[in-house]
């Protein structure tokens, strides 16, 4: 087989990889904000939930989480009398999002804490409501602070999507495996696969830099 014949299946897989990356990154960002803010909450219950979530998902391996959701969760559901069987795509997106969300939560927490105390005192002196303080003081300063780390996490997440091929999701790595089984032409196929991931990572990095630049302007804009 000529190498160009490998392209259609690989590109088909690439589209799945892109979708997985986008869904799990967006979902992961939401989880990151929820858990990062939750960890700073004064409510003990909320803080305990956030800390437990972050520690469990940062303390175990992504592949363990993925296999647990895909193989063990349905059995846990059976024991409880619930149907918790989930399709591979849901298990994949959930595992990726939960994992990256836990790492992102620490970034969110750090960025919020990096906003100086004097800023809050000034906001109170100006009689800002808590909501105004959040939207006009905390977010414009904390979010730009998070962006470089979020960029790294997005690339990390793109790389991690390759693991979902192990629960038979047809992503780029899965297609490459199929091609290799069929043709035994490992060198060409895996070289192409590596280059395609590299290209996708470069595009993603450029996009995150653009976003970082845009968000960076929030620092200068007034209310």
């Amino acid at each position: 087989m000529h190498w160009t014949e490998y392209l259609p299946p690989l590109l088909q897989g690439a589209w799945v990889t892109v979708q997985l990356t986008v869904y799990s990154t967006v979902l992961g960002a939401m989880l990151a904000f929820a858990a990062g803010i939750g960890k700073l909450s004064r409510n003990l219950m909320l803080r305990a939930v956030a800390v437990a979530y972050i520690e469990v998902f940062r303390g175990t391996s992504l592949l363990v989480q993925l296999f647990w959701l895909y193989f063990a969760l349905p059995m846990a559901g059976q024991a409880l009398g619930l149907d918790l069987r989930i399709p591979p795509v849901v298990a994949g997106v959930m595992a990726l999002a939960l994992n990256i969300g836990a790492y992102g939560a620490e970034v969110v927490r750090g960025a919020i804490q990096s906003v100086q105390q004097g800023q809050y005192e000034a906001a109170r002196a100006l009689n800002f409501t808590p909501r105004q303080t959040l939207t006009a003081v905390t977010i414009p300063q904390a979010v730009p602070e998070m962006m470089p780390s979020f960029g790294n996490l997005a690339v990390q997440n793109l790389k991690d999507t390759a693991l979902v091929s192990l629960i038979s999701l047809g992503d780029m790595t899965f297609r490459a495996e199929q091609l290799r089984n069929f043709t035994q032409d490992s060198t060409t196929i895996y070289s192409m696969l590596l280059l395609m991931y590299f290209g996708m990572a470069l595009v993603l990095t450029a996009m995150m830099r653009g976003l970082e630049h845009r968000v960076g302007r929030w620092r200068k804009v007034g209310v």
Binding site: A72, A76, S165, L166, Y190, S191, L194
Partner: protein
């Protein structure tokens, strides 16, 4: 039966206790892969760091491009590449060694940055002072830069050690019998995934918590001003 141990499926707790020894055998493999992979990452990272700092662009640019490539491609694909492509060039390594090499390669891209940052943190004034004292280049490196850079480098390297530990389960795809793979095999044979995989998760949590506590202790013991010289 696995590794000479029998499992007992008569009850959940009995089952969990009966499979624990098998999982511990897997854990030992995980620890070995972590240590070997980390060691390779330290050595390879140092090589990349030196090449990237080379005065000639013909040397530094390819080194930078290569580490960027290592950093931006998935571990599992690098592992498949090494596992299936190296034998075509006559290099046949056992699966465990290939896995450790893949871990070392992937993380060498990260460790090379740690070396670079650690060395750059030792300011110019230190180098100038060393020159004013007429120290040779080698002596400046061994007696001024390295003793101050090491305490800065160690904590960051420790974080990557924990990350490597969490990436070891990827090695299961090339038949390495690490902890997750053992848990899955038990699940495949007993039709019970819940208990083995939950145990693997719990054991992982213990491993990372112990490693983090150890690293914190090490971090607090590090001489902040640099390793004192006799």
């Amino acid at each position: 039966m696995l590794f000479g141990f029998e499992w007992d499926t008569s009850g959940p707790l009995v089952f969990a206790i009966s499979i624990l020894p098998m999982l511990l055998v897997g854990m030992w493999v995980t620890i070995q892969a972590t240590v070997l992979g980390f060691f390779m990452a330290l050595v390879l990272g140092l090589i990349w760091a030196v090449l990237k700092a080379a005065p000639s662009r013909i040397v530094s640019w390819p080194a930078k491009a290569f580490t960027e490539f290592l950093r931006d491609t998935p571990l599992i694909v690098q592992l498949f590449f090494l596992y299936y492509v190296l034998p075509e060039f006559g290099i046949i390594l056992p699966a465990f060694m290939t896995g450790a090499l893949a871990l070392g390669m992937q993380y060498s891209a990260y460790t090379s940055e740690v070396y670079r940052a650690g060395l750059e943190a030792i300011g110019r004034d230190q180098r100038e002072a060393a020159r004013a004292l007429n120290l040779t280049t080698v002596r400046t490196f061994t007696h001024v830069i390295v003793p101050q850079a090491v305490p800065r480098i160690v904590p960051a390297m420790g974080n990557y050690l924990v990350s490597i530990m969490k990436d070891v389960p990827v090695l299961s795809v090339v038949t390495v019998l690490e902890m997750l793979n053992v848990g899955r095999i038990i699940g495949d044979r007993t039709f019970n995934y819940l208990i083995p995989l939950s145990l693997v998760g719990g054991l992982y949590l213990i491993m990372t918590l112990v490693a983090s506590a150890g690293l914190r202790l090490l971090g607090s013991r590090l001489p902040k001003q640099g390793i004192p010289l006799k």
